[in-house]
Symmetry: C2
Subunit: 320 residues, 2 copies
């Protein structure tokens, strides 16, 4: 049976998840590899095809796969390229859709990873039935996908929805990948949480479980572990991160007045530690007409599944 399955690939700064999906949005096969360890896109594609090709054979061979949809940071739907992604090691413009097409001999389409997640959420997740919502991915970086009037906002050049790079703290922390100061991604990402923890430790002599770790090894997972053990400094890191995220979300609400903002990605594992200060500071910074109206929710889909499913939706939309 032709066109039975689609492949969805979600490329993140740290890892890449991919799967084989049927028409009902069920993920029949799912695997992950590291993105970060690959210095070049060529070596990345080698590992990907080494795992994915046998999996395709296993489900019935190339003939029944309609195509491959990919979500990637700075992925451009119109050109099929990844352009200057600050969170990837592959620099410049990467013609990924073309490379994937050549490697797998299957039609390939590419979009921004957060746009893919937004589409997945709209088709299979927490945004079912919504026409206006914003999806924010809080991972290695901060991505976003914006849906208004039931459509993804791509912008005139396909690059819309880079909310992680909006500046929230004027003259704030430097983002080494972009050169911008005080952008949301510098704070509300896994990297940002670790940096905030180190700044907080440097600023005072306050006791903290975080001091049991070498500074260079502190990551968002360690901050989380310390916070759930009641560590005050670690909890303050989440308060601070949530404050900045909430302030940013308030600005976004005044842009597109969404029914919901859906949070997604590693940082959401912190649950109420991040949700509470985020919601509180979002509400505080809204005009009264927007207050207590926007649903701030976590994604219902499993980690990366929203993006895999959304990427696969690109395939079902392909002609033929």
């Amino acid at each position: 049976m032709k066109n039975k399955y689609a492949i969805g690939i979600d490329i993140g700064g740290t890892g890449t998840a991919f799967g084989i999906i049927n028409h009902r949005g069920e993920i029949l096969y799912r695997e992950e590899i590291s993105t970060r360890k690959h210095e070049t896109v060529t070596s990345f594609l080698e590992e990907l095809s080494g795992i994915l090709l046998p999996a395709i054979d296993h489900v019935g061979g190339m003939e029944i796969i309609k195509g491959i949809g990919i979500g990637a940071p700075n992925g451009n739907y119109y050109t099929g390229t990844i352009d200057y992604a600050p969170n990837l090691k592959w620099k410049g413009i990467i013609p990924l859709a073309k490379l994937i097409n050549e490697k797998f001999k299957l039609p390939a389409a590419l979009t921004n990873d957060a746009n893919a997640a937004a589409v997945g959420e709209m088709m299979y997740g927490a945004a079912r039935g919504m026409k206006d919502f914003i999806m924010i991915t809080l991972g290695t970086g901060v991505g976003s996908g914006i849906v208004a009037n039931g459509q993804l906002i791509l912008g005139h050049d396909g690059f819309a929805g880079e909310l992680g790079h909006t500046v929230i703290i004027r003259d704030g922390r430097l983002h080494p990948g972009t050169g911008l100061h005080g952008s949301l991604e510098s704070y509300a990402s896994a990297t940002g949480v670790a940096l905030t923890a180190i700044e907080f430790l440097d600023r005072t002599n306050q006791d903290s479980l975080l001091r049991n770790y070498d500074k260079e090894t502190i990551d968002s997972k360690i901050v989380y572990d310390c916070a759930i053990q009641g560590d005050v400094v670690a909890k303050n890191v989440y308060e601070f991160t949530g404050k900045i995220l909430g302030e940013a979300l308030a600005n976004f609400v005044m842009f597109s007045s969404p029914e919901a903002i859906i949070l997604f990605g590693g940082l959401t594992n912190a649950g109420d530690l991040i949700m509470k200060p985020t919601k509180e500071n979002m509400e505080k910074n809204l005009l009264p007409i927007f207050r207590n109206k926007v649903k701030l929710i976590f994604s219902e889909l499993k980690e990366a599944d929203a993006a895999i499913l959304g990427a696969s939706a690109l395939v079902w939309d392909m002609k033929g």
Copy 2:
């Protein structure tokens, strides 16, 4: 001939402009009244109808008017109400479409003033043929209308596009109408320009033509007059205003990646004094992928005509 003309009304914080428009977008009759002097919407409607009803008679009577379209701050297309507009004296929720309908016995539709201006610009102005652009009105307040995928973004509740209330300077100047600190409108409006001038005068003893005026009387017109005479303090006011506006625009570009941003309203009369620092600071705060791509332009339409024309477009869209 039935449905020959439409009426467009543009309500601003200071003045209200209105006109009678034909199908080709020509304004056959145009008049203005003060908004600000009317403490109540009832007295405003009295003056409006006292002028507009004779004008309607003059062009051929009620029978040939299809309806009335209105643009107003915080105007909501879905409900036909003005909700808690910070820049109007009429507080609470004003059912303006209903009141206009009762007064004139004509179908009436309402939208946000900046949304109306964006539609006017898309149909008759600088945004003809564009599918993705942002209109920013720099008047008494700062309004905005956002078009993506060729459609106005209204949001799930009709209140999208309140970019004047996004916070640009964390813990910055208090906006007395909203209680927010550091919102764009606190700086990049006529009111903001006057406040900045007074702050600059207070902060130093630098010579300035502005010192020839009583502080309470300084408005954006006086600042402009001094700036074109070469006054350094007045010129710095525009540099500062343009810096904040440019930083704000950069954030907006990373949201919807528009082909153009169209500036409109009183502040644009300052020409390059405001355009140069705005453009420079917008570019500086953009990710490389967005740089030197967004057209930053002034509206081509006469003051308020974009909003009158856009408001009249609501009428042509009415059924029947």
